[in-house]
């Protein structure tokens, strides 16, 4: 790889060294021999090309592609260099990348210099200020941690303004003093104004260098934000000082009037405040535009880039502080843009910004290296160079200590000595200074060459020496590092609570402090800005919910990936369960389900698959294959669209696999159940409404599945089962939940059950029981539709969805119960059918007769033995009917009604569903036996509270 990289470098250098496009190695020698300034010759040769041999099959069109080609090759080179540096882990941890890049630049510069005898490339100020710098600043501003930034804004502003002014003046005056003292050679023709100008441009801490070096050091966030914020915000000071001095130098110091100084101050205010305002205006504009990009998601990232860049250019246009403008545009717009644009656009913006910034940084450092290898710049004066180095270092340190002393009187968290050392040492100079010094007019500033050389040395020294040593220094001083840890939600909440508390206290004390203003701003943001700049849907939707959605989907997919049926109870109780439950916007959940096709909407017909005789092996193979060797079988239109991003193959596959697996599981359950309930089902089918009813209840049982699993002491159910060999146990667990809820109605927050119900959470299902019988889809009954749920199929109206889901769940629950003796089932079913309406009391299981919930296990046992199937079914029916009464909207809130239901259950059964009334109690009885075996009547342990949600 290394030789390859070197070859690439050489080739690039060769290509770069040859402006006229004979890039072949042989041409290099020829070029060296030729007069390099042969524009005319080039024309001639080009002409020859065309006239020479008539039509040429291949033509050499270098001049045509030259500029973009060179740019592309440079980018390639820079990127390849990065790859090379990161080959050795050990090396990169010691040597910062910026150092390596400068060294590489030096080497390249040397190659180019040897090849063409003249340095063809240097860091052009126009290129730097118009393209390279904005990409870095844009990235920095957009991803600036706003809270941290504004929390430390006072310190940042202080260092940026006062610190920079101090550095600039002191360096300038002291250099002048050194000149007067004769330390600086007489060849350096400069007077006070020149030195002040030089001091101004050399004193500003450089954002590019700071970013490059500090990013690898990982110091704590506060320190980083102070140094980095300073480097960004000092731009206004630098720009103004630079311009003021240039004009002073031009008119000559003797012509400067007092008014001009005031103009300078006014200019500073205008440049800084104006720049900030421009940035904020563009931030608002950006937020507003992204509000309407819903239909053209694909260009969302472009808006972000364009407007942020325009903020920079506009500020530059009015000669305001462009860096300030861009920074504030990024900070201001980030919140709204991130909320408005789609997830993919967000990723795109992030990646593109990082890519651009990274490549720009690389190019800057390489070009800095290259620029240094230029004979025309070697105007060395040891006195000037050493004086500058000493002065900037000393004054930086003095300035930092002095300002920190002042700041610490106001800061709650004082800046320690260690921090001050790092801040002083981290005052890196970089490309901004270099570009500014190159911009100087050699006519007016006689000592420009000396200044350029000195700047290069200063930049190299700070970036390379200080950059190299700051890491050991930080380690040695034991500066607190960044933890790189996201605050937990708990921390965030408490922080927020503290914010409110502090604001309140400030208000009481009548102090218009930081918290007061931040609170004011938040109010303003909430009441006006967010309404103006945020999409309506976003405005109501919380970030949290979005995050939760993502987590859930990921969970689901990963579960499926792990083979489909490795669902453990632990998984079922994902922390997200609670949050899902807590999400009040039920409709969103429904939509979400629908859109993302959790594959739960089974056609009712599927349920009727008649399990034929089949080879078990066949079945197993099929299902394993279906689950694991899955290839999307759906034909997707693979049309090309400029405006819409097609789903990724992987995503599609995930989705289908997911759907399919869920589907399979459903079917498994269904089929098992089917065996036992064939007749019941057919009965029901005839009474169409009943089918629906049946569906209604299931989600709750689903809930209970989820809730129960993590909580219940596993031993007890097992024991119970063993003792009673009660087939129904598992099945009834779900039902019991309903009853239990009644006991502790308080504990459940309102929104919870609703959400739970609507969002049945596929991953919540337990794996198919080992004994479960699987259908082979191709062997299913004639009428059954293909087992794969298509995407379209998932787009059913919510009610359907729910029904289907419920149905599947119900079957799911019944799976685990071994087939009951047919006698037990049939008579009851027929009875049920016959009766239709009220059921004779004789039908109520003995357990329920006892009435009091506390009498338990024995009854349970009994009842379950007698009527395993029935009980459940009737129960379902009853619940359903109640739900029906509740009506559509309340359906989602069904669990809410359970408390009201329960009282009825114990004493006299509610009138409408008579058959169920008696049985209803059973579930709770079961639960008891399952969950808290010996003392069933007692309320649950408090620890269960949360899960019960």
């Amino acid at each position: 790889m290394l030789p390859l990289g070197l070859a690439l470098l050489l080739l690039t250098a060769a290509a770069a060294a040859d402006p006229r496009g004979t890039a072949a190695p042989a041409a290099l020698a020829r070029l060296a021999a030729e007069d390099p300034a042969g524009g005319a010759a080039h024309e001639e040769r080009g002409g020859e090309h065309h006239h020479g041999g008539g039509y040429r099959v291949v033509q050499w069109e270098w001049s045509y592609v030259q500029t973009p080609y060179i740019i592309a090759v440079w980018l390639l080179l820079a990127s390849a260099a990065k790859i090379l540096f990161h080959f050795s882990q050990r090396f990169t941890t010691v040597v910062p990348e910026s150092c390596m890049l400068i060294l590489l630049g030096l080497v390249l510069g040397g190659v180019v210099l040897i090849a063409s005898k003249k340095q063809l490339y240097q860091l052009e100020p126009a290129l730097f200020f118009l393209f390279l710098l904005p990409t870095i600043v844009g990235d920095a501003g957009y991803f600036m941690p706003a809270r941290l930034f504004f929390d430390n804004l006072g310190a940042i502003l202080m260092y940026a303004v006062v610190g920079t002014l101090w550095n600039a003046f002191c360096t300038g005056f002291c250099l002048y003093a050194a000149k007067l003292l004769g330390v600086i050679d007489g060849r350096v023709q400069a007077d006070l104004m020149d030195f002040l100008l030089f001091g101004a441009l050399i004193s500003a801490v450089d954002p590019v260098a700071v970013l490059a070096v500090f990013e690898e050091v990982h110091i704590n966030e506060m320190l980083f934000i102070i140094v980095f914020g300073e480097s960004l915000l000092n731009d206004a000071v630098t720009v103004v000082l630079y311009k003021v001095y240039i004009s002073f130098v031009e008119v000559g110091p003797e012509n400067v009037q007092t008014a001009d100084y005031f103009k300078g101050v006014a200019s500073f205010l205008i440049v800084s405040i104006g720049g900030t305002l421009v940035g904020l205006v563009f931030a608002v504009l950006l937020g507003f535009i992204t509000r309407f990009t819903k239909k053209v998601r694909i260009i969302e990232p472009l808006f972000v880039f364009l407007l942020v860049y325009l903020a920079y250019l506009t500020a530059e246009l009015f000669s305001l502080s462009a860096i300030l403008s861009m920074t504030f545009c990024g900070i201001g717009a980030n919140k709204y843009v991130e909320a408005n644009i789609s997830q993919k656009s967000r990723t795109t913006v992030k990646y593109t910004m990082k890519t651009l910034a990274s490549i720009a940084e690389t190019i800057i450092f390489i070009f800095l290296g290259i620029s240094a290898v230029d004979k025309s710049k070697w105007a060395w004066d040891t006195g000037l160079v050493s004086c500058t180095l000493v002065f900037i270092f000393v004054f930086r340190a003095v300035g930092v200590v002095g300002q920190t002393w002042v700041l610490n009187r106001f800061r709650l968290v004082p800046l320690e000595k260690i921090d001050q050392v790092v801040m002083s040492y981290g005052g890196l100079r970089g490309a901004v200074a270099f570009a500014l010094v190159v911009l100087l007019d050699a006519e007016k500033v006689k000592a420009k060459d000396y200044f350029v050389a000195t700047t290069i040395v200063v930049v190299f020294f700070t970036v390379m020496f200080q950059g190299l040593t700051i890491k050991p220094l930080v380690k040695w001083l034991k500066v607190p590092r960044s933890t790189n840890r996201k605050p937990t939600i708990n921390e965030e909440i408490h922080e927020r609570a503290f914010d409110h508390i502090l604001t309140a206290v400030e208000d009481i004390a009548g102090l218009q402090g930081y918290h007061h203003w931040r609170d004011k701003w938040e109010q303003f943001d909430k009441n006006y800005l967010s309404k103006l700049l945020l999409r309506k849907s976003v405005y109501r939707k919380s970030e949290l919910w979005e995050a939760y959605q993502k987590i859930n989907i990921r969970d689901a997919i990963s579960v499926i990936d792990q083979g489909g049926n490795v669902l453990t109870s632990a998984r079922l109780s994902l922390p997200s369960m609670a949050s899902r439950a807590s999400f009040p916007e039920v409709t969103n959940v429904t939509n979400y389900l629908r859109e993302n096709g959790s594959g739960v909407c089974l056609d009712l017909q599927v349920i009727d698959n008649v399990p034929g005789a089949k080879v078990e092996e066949d079945t197993e193979t099929h299902h394993v294959l279906a689950g694991n060797l899955y290839k999307p079988r759906r034909r997707y239109q693979s049309h090309y669209s400029r405006h819409f991003m097609p789903l990724g193959e992987q995503e599609r596959q995930d989705r289908e696999v997911f759907q399919r697996n869920m589907r399979r599981r459903m079917e498994t359950f269904k089929s098992t159940r089917y065996k036992r309930h064939k007749k019941e089902r057919s009965l029901k089918k005839r009474r169409g409404s009943d089918v629906k009813e049946e569906g209604g209840d299931k989600p709750r049982r689903n809930v209970s599945w989820q809730d129960k699993d993590p909580v219940v002491v596993p031993v007890e159910p097992e024991v119970d089962k063993a003792e009673h060999s009660d087939p129904e146990k598992e099945e009834d667990v779900g039902i019991t939940f309903v009853a239990r809820k009644a006991e502790t109605p308080k504990q459940r927050p309102k929104s919870v059950p609703a959400a739970l119900e609507v969002c049945p959470s596929p991953p919540a299902e337990p794996g198919p029981p080992p004994g479960g019988d699987n259908h082979l889809p191709w062997k299913g009954s004639v009428g059954s539709p293909p087992p794969c749920v298509s995407l379209e199929a998932t787009k059913i109206i919510p009610v359907d969805l729910q029904q289907a889901w419920n149905q599947s769940i119900s079957s799911l629950e019944s799976v685990s119960s071994p087939p009951a003796p047919p006698e037990a089932v049939h008579p009851r079913v027929s009875a049920l059918f016959r009766l239709g309406g009220p059921r004779p009391a004789s039908y109520t299981p003995p357990g329920s007769v006892a009435g009091s919930t506390t009498s338990i296990a024995a009854q349970v046992l009994q009842s379950s033995f007698c009527f395993p199937e029935k009980k459940k079914k009737t129960n379902l029916e009853e619940d359903d009917e109640e739900e029906e009464m509740g009506g559509g909207a309340s359906q989602e809130m069904r669990p809410l009604m359970s408390p009201s239901k329960i009282p009825g259950a114990l004493p006299p059964p509610p009138p409408p569903p008579p058959p169920g009334s008696g049985r209803r109690r059973n579930p709770c009885v079961y639960l008891r036996s399952l969950v808290a075996a010996p003392p069933p009547g007692s309320t649950e342990p408090p620890s269960r509270g949360p899960t019960q949600l």
Partner: protein, 154 residues
């Protein structure tokens, strides 16, 4: 206004408050003027209604909780001393040596006292325990989004 307030406040009183809370003379006079401006009844004490009249506090989700903190023992009036005592909790923590010199008792702005104060904000029924419900009640007020995240924690 400031001058009027300071005239109303006797010097020895200021000294005592200074000793107790650690506020400086100017801070005390400034806060006293604030106190009198809040005191609509002009009886030298503040009631809950006086606090609730502060517009910013009305929209603060934790406003009630803070107001409660000014009435430690279930009283419904707080005088200037009590007012200052509560506010003193929010003074920055000072160096330990300095505090020891000032007084033997622990200053109100010590870490422990601050924590105790924060604890009391959560301890609604003042039984020196934060129950689950109390915690939830406080946190749920933080705001809507946070509320959901609280559920998220369960």
């Amino acid at each position: 206004m400031g001058s009027r307030a300071s005239t109303l406040l006797r010097e020895e009183e200021i000294e005592e408050i200074k000793k107790e809370t650690g506020f400086s003379h100017s801070q005390i006079t400034r806060l006293y003027s604030r106190f009198t401006s809040l005191d609509k009844g002009e009886n030298g004490t503040l009631s809950r209604e006086d606090f609730q009249r502060i517009p910013e506090l009305a929209i603060n989700p934790l406003g009630d909780r803070i107001i409660n903190a000014f009435f430690p023992d279930g009283e419904d009036q707080v005088n200037f001393r009590g007012f200052m005592r509560t506010l003193a909790h929010f003074r920055p923590v000072e160096d330990n040596e300095k505090n020891k010199n000032l007084s033997n008792t622990e200053p109100l702005n010590s870490r422990t006292n601050k924590l105790h104060f924060a604890f009391q904000l959560y301890d609604l029924d003042r039984d020196d325990k934060i129950s689950r419900d109390e915690l939830l009640q406080v946190l749920e007020k933080v705001d809507v989004e946070q509320k959901m995240s609280i559920r998220f924690l369960h």
